[in-house]
Amino acid sequence: MKGVWKCFAVVAGLVLSAAIQGHAAQQDQKSRARLYLTYFKYSPTDRYLNIKVITRKERRNVPVEDVKIEFYLGEKSSAGYLGSIMTDREGQGSLLLPLSFYAAADTLLSYLFVATLTDNSEYLDTDMELEIIDASIELHGIVQDSQRTVQAIVRVRDSTLALVTVPDVPLNFLVERPLSLLPISDLKRTGDKGIAMSQFPSDLPGDREGYVTVVVKIDDHDPYGTVLQRETLRWGIPTSFDDKSQKRSLWSARANTPIPLLLLVNGLILVTWGIMIYIVRELLQIKHI
């Protein structure tokens, strides 16, 4: 039974802490929270809905932490239910679209997503809708006269669900870096044939073998949302990693002590202590005379 009590305490604690946090903002009436829903297509089979929840407190926008947000496709019904998340400290959360979405996706011209905040003790019920048209990007690396160019083609489905190219879509050309994406050109727009191009810099470091991942991105677009397409090309300059920490130096670990220092110090120790041991042995001789 102890376990149950402990769980109860934990839940009570959670509820309590949530209650205390909200306390200052409202006494008896619930406050209004605002939802921001965005769609993110990382790859055709890897799509997310991101949510950010904020509220106004003392004339400032503050994130809403630990509220439950439910997501639906089409209408708010159990048939369209996609899943739910709890917002984090920044008032954000992210939902990986479930398999049920993909089952329906190919038959729809556009997706209507709904995010809802309901049954919350502090905030009024609210929801946000987001209509997305599915866009896809095709990416090619072209080498011509030693000039490297990245080419992207954007397509959407027309009313017959067939794929057609679209002009005038803003596109970012980037490369993947360890902590962020690095732009390799200014913002481009697709032309009449749905094509946009960007030159690839000649001096960009890649990995050990020179591979770089090029990313073409439609950024927070209405009605496409955020769409990415990536391609790994061997276009970078191979970088060699020089691990100085494994070399012998004054600042390296004990295992990498410079040899001369090692010899010198140990030599001195051996000599002085050797003499001392000799002396002690001599002294012990005194006893036997």
Binding site: L250, S252, V265, I269, I279, L283, I286
Partner: protein
């Protein structure tokens, strides 16, 4: 210099062998009331220090006045001071001996005892300075030989071992003497003499061994003694702090240490001579010689001092200039000039006059030298830390200056008491003047 061989030096002890033995063993057996009071006093000082250290263990180094900028305080300067003092052992028992100054014979044991006591207390004080004394063993388990601290640990242990050997070798015949002559001593003490006298019978071959080993050690102790202080100076000169970032620091430290060592020996001579009634053995002549030696060593130290300050004060570069200004005219100026005048110029000037080399005046002057030497080390360690390259901003008031707390003083005084206690206890156990060297000289 007539520091070198003076054949007359032992002639003043115009006594028979028996008389000498009796005189020199007297203080070993008797515990006078003064002795006990002295021990009590030292005990109290040490206990206060222990209490202060207990507080430090409990609340951390927060009880000290050290903070992020002044991150080393009087513990470290005191450590440097003790290391300096410990050089006295090699000065007298080796440098003087090798230069055939036989007059120094009665002083060898005192100086070796002081050296050992100082080095032990230096090691203790450095552990006191550690933020995590409980991890001391890590120094051995994880020690990196690239770090000057490890060099210092190695050299301190080595020097301590050599000093103990040096003291012990010259003690063997005297231990045998105690074993044979002292009858009304406690059993443990008797046993001690017996074990450590190593079955000494005064055989010729036994003497040979003693002479051989001690002359090896005499030579070996010099580089080690220089190294101990030079390595200590490297703890500072391997950094970029103004006043530390100097190629001159090693010889500067060593010369200062020899000077302080000579002063300590003079003070010790004075008190041992008076309290143990050894006037015939430690004579005015000894004071006179030591006085001359002190003049010489002070002059050498002065030379290095000038070297240390002239360059930076001429150039006055950035933080180095700030540091020099602070010392010469700023908040440390009064300390700086008092040290230079009383701890350096005065002994040179005063001790040139023979009357001032008489026991009492020279003892007073040596005291000034010692205080000067201690304050000097304060001035070496602390002001340097207060002039970093980047300005000190947005810190609590307490970070801006360094005024040692009572805990730090208590521990520092306890460490002094510790040195005196070790010296006293050893003196109460063995003759403070090498008996056999005097009596054998006569034969």
């Amino acid at each position: 210099m007539d520091l070198v061989d003076n054949p007359d030096s032992t002639r003043e002890v115009g006594k028979s062998r028996q008389q000498i033995e009796q005189d020199l063993l007297r203080h070993v057996t008797k515990w006078t009331k003064n002795d006990k009071l002295w021990l009590l006093f030292l005990g109290v000082v040490i206990l206060i220090g222990v209490f202060a250290y207990y507080r430090q263990l409990r609340y951390g180094l927060l009880v000290t006045a050290m903070r992020d900028y002044t991150s080393w305080g009087i513990y470290i300067s005191n450590f440097v001071f003790f290391v300096a003092i410990s050089l006295v052992g090699s000065l007298v028992s080796s440098i003087l001996k090798l230069s055939n100054a036989t007059w120094s014979t009665p002083l060898t044991r005192i100086s070796e005892i002081i050296a050992i006591a100082a080095i032990i207390c230096a090691s203790i004080i450095i552990i006191v300075d550690m933020g995590r004394p409980d991890r001391f063993i890590y120094v051995i388990i994880f020690g990196r030989i690239q770090s000057p601290i490890i060099w210092d640990v190695i050299i301190i242990v080595t020097y301590l071992a050599i000093s103990i050997l040096l003291l012990y070798i010259s003690l063997i015949p005297d231990l045998a003497l105690c074993r044979d002559k002292l009858h009304d001593v406690p059993r443990w003490q008797k046993k001690l003499y017996e074990v450590f006298a190593l079955n000494w019978k005064g055989e010729k071959r036994q003497y040979q061994i003693i002479h051989k080993t001690s002359s090896i050690l005499c030579i070996m102790v010099i580089p080690v003694a220089f190294a101990i202080h030079t390595v200590t100076s490297w703890l500072f000169s391997t950094t970029w702090r103004p006043g530390w970032d100097s190629t001159n620091l090693g010889p500067y430290f060593v010369s200062g240490a020899l000077m302080a060592g000579a002063a300590v020996i003079i003070i010790a001579m004075y008190f041992i001579r008076n309290s143990l009634r050894l006037k015939e053995y430690i004579t005015e002549l000894h004071f006179d010689h030591m006085g001359k030696l002190l003049v010489l060593l002070s002059a050498v130290y002065l030379y290095f001092n000038i070297n240390e300050y002239l360059g930076p004060s001429f150039k006055m570069v950035g933080v180095e200039g700030e540091h020099i200004t602070e010392l010469f005219f700023g908040k440390y100026a009064y300390m700086y000039w008092l040290v230079q005048i009383f701890g350096l110029i005065l002994p040179i000037v005063a001790l040139i006059y023979k009357p001032l080399r008489a026991p009492f005046p020279i003892m007073v002057i040596s005291f000034l030298v010692i205080i000067g030497a201690w304050v000097k080390r304060f001035l070496i360690v602390i002001p340097s830390l207060q002039h970093p390259y980047l300005p000190i901003q947005d810190v609590d008031e307490s970070y801006l200056h360094y005024i040692p707390t009572w805990e730090e003083w208590a521990i520092t005084f306890a460490s002094f008491a510790g040195v005196l206690l070790i010296v006293t206890l050893i003196i109460k156990l063995v003759p403070v003047i090498p008996v056999w060297e005097l009596t054998d000289n006569k034969e």
